[in-house]
Symmetry: C2
Subunit: 700 residues, 2 copies
Amino acid sequence: MTAPLQPLLSPRSIAVIGASDHIHKIGGRPIHYMKTHGYAGTLYPVNPQRDAIQGLRAYPTLDALPEVPELAIIIVAGEAAVQAVHDCARLGVAAAIVIASGFGEAGAEGRRQQVEMVRAARASGLRLVGPNSQGLANFGSGAIASFSTMFIEVPPQDGPVAVVSQSGGVAAIVYGLLRGQGIGVRHMHATGNQADITVSELALAVAHDPGVRLVLLYLESLSDPEVLAEAARVARARNVPIVAVKAGRSQDGQRAAASHTGAIANEDRAVDAFLARHGIWRVDDAHALARCAPMYLRGWDAGGRRLVVVSNSGASCVMAADAAPSFGLTLAPLSDATQAALAERLPGFAATANPVDVTAALLTNSALFGEVLPVVARDPAADLFLLDIPVSGMGYDVPRFARDAAAFADTAGKPIAVAVWQQPVAEAFREAGVPTYANAAEALSAFSQLVSHQQRLRQIAAEGEPLLPARPAQPAIAAAGATLSEAASLARLAAAGMPVVEHYVCRNVDAAVAAWQRIGAPVAVKASSPQVPHKSEHGLVALHCNDPEAVASAFAAQTRTLQAMGATCEGVVVARMSRGQRECMIGAHWDPVFGAVLVVGDGGKYVEVLRDTAVLLAPCRPADVARALDGLRIAPLLHGVRGEPPVDIAALCRLAVQVGDMVHNAGGAILSVDLNPVMVNGDGVVVVDALIEEARHASH
Amino acid sequence: MTAPLQPLLSPRSIAVIGASDHIHKIGGRPIHYMKTHGYAGTLYPVNPQRDAIQGLRAYPTLDALPEVPELAIIIVAGEAAVQAVHDCARLGVAAAIVIASGFGEAGAEGRRQQVEMVRAARASGLRLVGPNSQGLANFGSGAIASFSTMFIEVPPQDGPVAVVSQSGGVAAIVYGLLRGQGIGVRHMHATGNQADITVSELALAVAHDPGVRLVLLYLESLSDPEVLAEAARVARARNVPIVAVKAGRSQDGQRAAASHTGAIANEDRAVDAFLARHGIWRVDDAHALARCAPMYLRGWDAGGRRLVVVSNSGASCVMAADAAPSFGLTLAPLSDATQAALAERLPGFAATANPVDVTAALLTNSALFGEVLPVVARDPAADLFLLDIPVSGMGYDVPRFARDAAAFADTAGKPIAVAVWQQPVAEAFREAGVPTYANAAEALSAFSQLVSHQQRLRQIAAEGEPLLPARPAQPAIAAAGATLSEAASLARLAAAGMPVVEHYVCRNVDAAVAAWQRIGAPVAVKASSPQVPHKSEHGLVALHCNDPEAVASAFAAQTRTLQAMGATCEGVVVARMSRGQRECMIGAHWDPVFGAVLVVGDGGKYVEVLRDTAVLLAPCRPADVARALDGLRIAPLLHGVRGEPPVDIAALCRLAVQVGDMVHNAGGAILSVDLNPVMVNGDGVVVVDALIEEARHASH
């Protein structure tokens, strides 16, 4: 089997269209890099002005080459770039990288040119990276089709990390930060406008590379979640973690992304749900992308969240203990035996409980770290080790500390990190292969990510592969949808087997009174009209009606109001007044990228204000919903507090799954379903209010 | 007037007891530092083994000196240190610093010795720093009575910052981080066990120093809030910001602090309230202490929270826009005129809306930053400027960028920060005097702190000096308090003029029924017993009683239950059933350090679970309570949402102030007051349930 995207990642021959003799020009750098870092294939500089470039024979045109190159790097800009794509397509070049910007991200003419390039490429099977791309670099094959200046700032070194980014800047930052930590980088790819090839597709390709053990992604828009899901599946199978930034979280961010790479906005909480579902860890920025890399690469399996802190500063012990809970970590309670063993090794005034304060005695006894670490490592309560060394330097045997920490890291099999802000000291630990951070907060953040990410990956392994998101069968629906009436919405839910409140649709006052009699308890009277989805704001809901007069007067008032509004009246719904131990909400809507998106949470009239909801992708399992509910502020109330019994969480989860399935199976025909409140009791759930919005039919 | 603590900060003569000839020993370093950094007073090494130390004449004992030194640095340990304190006291030395550890933080014998030192010092007026102290260093006077090795790692330079810390380690870290940014440090003091002199007292002293423009504090325990409040007052008057870490936030942190400096735990939310009240900004760790220093020192007055981002990386623009909201910042909407002016200067595909993406064109046009910054600075919507340069280095005119940024910082008068992770690039900006951060998140965090801190200081200036906290008139009350019955609690509140629900205390069933008749509406019947404060858990509350039978049967059942429990029965309280648009809670309790602590928030039965409360110190003003309420999750509900009217926030604030005053004025005699729920409506508030706990009387 050929490796995916082989013509881009390991091409046998490369043409550089717009090649330059100057190694610091964009057209010169890729050639210079490939000559320097051992590209084994054939390089063809294309430049009509010169016979030779950087010592290689140059050709005036693509047509003049002795063979059709596998890859073309198109340095030339504007219309010349479009022409070069046409040439590549005509000649049967397998892949091309368009470097120039000024296309899809910059106005109508640029968009037109971008569309033309894609059309030409698709017609001939040519795969396209860019435009507006910094290029791709594979230090495994030496195919460095990139003009990044960062390779000059920080020399490359092949290694286990793949960086795939829509932005060349982010690729360069992450590469630089990793290399600064001594970590080797195999892939550093930037996709730019993604007219054809996306971050997802390259992520899938690098996930197949046996040399890759960590994949770091930067995305501004996500249009092919099914490809990224497949990349995640391949990576999980190989035990390769994926960490991603998906930028454009805020409105301002989405606007900036649109003008940067022409990105289409994604619904951010759906992005969260998508990434979590597939075990891709989401972080916020380029620095956070690089932060956890040293820990992942050690291959540690973090067993739990119980932290041991060892420091030569008592105050750092206190501050680390303070910080631990905000990263979801607890301090491991060391056993009496461990503490006794520590007491033998530490001065009398040192603290042997966790945090372990070896005190300034470290200055006179350089063996302390080496003696203390193996002792705490044996304690079964200890999962993670923070070695916080805020004060050292001259007079301290730093090389020995680094050796001791490295020996510990190699033998203990449990994650360790060192926090040290003094550069030369940090360097000693880094060179010894110990993950090193500028301060405790960064180290604890990395620990927390490692543990949580591994926990999620174990969940996926235990529960089976995540259900795949629905790929929308149709393009985004631009027109507004059509709202169903209360009566029609409830009927639809009941037909789907969902537990709906006992109710009767009544066309006249006698029917309404009869319904009240049948229910035999206080009722709610609600006008039913497709034009008035939000009834209570118009006084179209009467609660606690408990005699014929109240029912009749509500009927009369509501029909009058609807008439005055000029709205269709489908009668009134007379429904049993239902109470719940809790009022929850369940909603689902159709997203053009992710398909059915499910929202569950605290319900009632303040749902928009108190915003205690969780988002999942449908279809999903009851266990997924249960986990989402456990992240809510109201979670303790669902499980029962102050002597109250728990509510029927299982029924709530089943209903949520049904709602998600309903929208999923409709494949875009249902735009949204909104159930609020859903009354939740100890023995089941009841939908009291419902609103369904369908994609508008052609007849409308 | 003598400067406060002058014998410690600018002594005319210093004896070093336990002086060493070796400049890297603890007894040698202070002498070496003072000789190197120009201490102008007289140094007296004391060492019975030597005639001369580091070229100075040495003396065998303190008694042998030609004069009584103003300050003694006591290097010797254990019993010898205790003896040295006795000697200093006997001779009339003004101040002494005890360096050795192993006293109050380490067992009974150490505590006894510490008490003995303090007793001897107090008897003669000798002021004591330590024990377990790294010492004090004043680079203004050259009195470097400190053995910190950090002065060797990073050479000192007198400057505008004072660092006062209970921990020598933290003092050293903050000093090192500041010096690494090229910032000069005047004071670096470590107080250790604080047997006598505290961080508060030194903070007050350095706040008086005319050379100090920023005070950074690290505390593990706070026992003298009135002194720190006075330091804050002096600093505010001089426009000197104070930033503080108060460690021991978590239980584990408090335990670690106890074994580090023998710290007594403070109630952490009360610490928050105390620091906020006095305009001291609280941060979490040593790195955060140093982070905002460059901005404070520029003397910028941040007008608002509207951010402008300028970058040569489009992705960094997107990520900064995404990050801004999490720091409470918004992107400034640039005017059309500004954008037009930017368009003239930037390449066609660059983004002229905020964030401003100058693109990789910066590589070929080094003037871009210098041209763009003055244009955006003129826009009235812009308050803060982030210059994010994640990609540069060779080929970029970094010195010019730094000059342009510095010129902007000097002339614009608005805060600017540069985010750059490449060390040499960062150095260029730092040397030019521009606040420089490793990444955008850190810069935005510093901006946010600057703006919020200045806003709080302006509030204090506008509203007048904060009311001073009550200094507890008596030591902490160890014994548990005595709970008042419901009836007695309500009576106490009513007597203090608080709005209490209409209720009657009824000793027999006839009285209960009569009370129901008088109220003329559904009532609640609640057993009243001082032994059963939590009635509903024992079935001692009957709600919605609306006929004589219900009232009578509740009375009978409740008195029977109390009897079975063996609890005193003070009758039942028959109270009007009261409803509120919201149910809130107000509580106050007596803290041995801070006096009356007030808690306000969302009420009802889930108050412990949903935890939506704010903490203030009493006495306070209604405006303080209103501000605290505005920080709650339920704040929008109080102000009215979805067409609801606002509740009577003013009445709620008045009641909270009354409750705080009640506990404050009792001066420790009332341990706690707990009102939950307080029914809050559009036209007032009503206390429905109350529980008061008093300090137990001697007769109990």
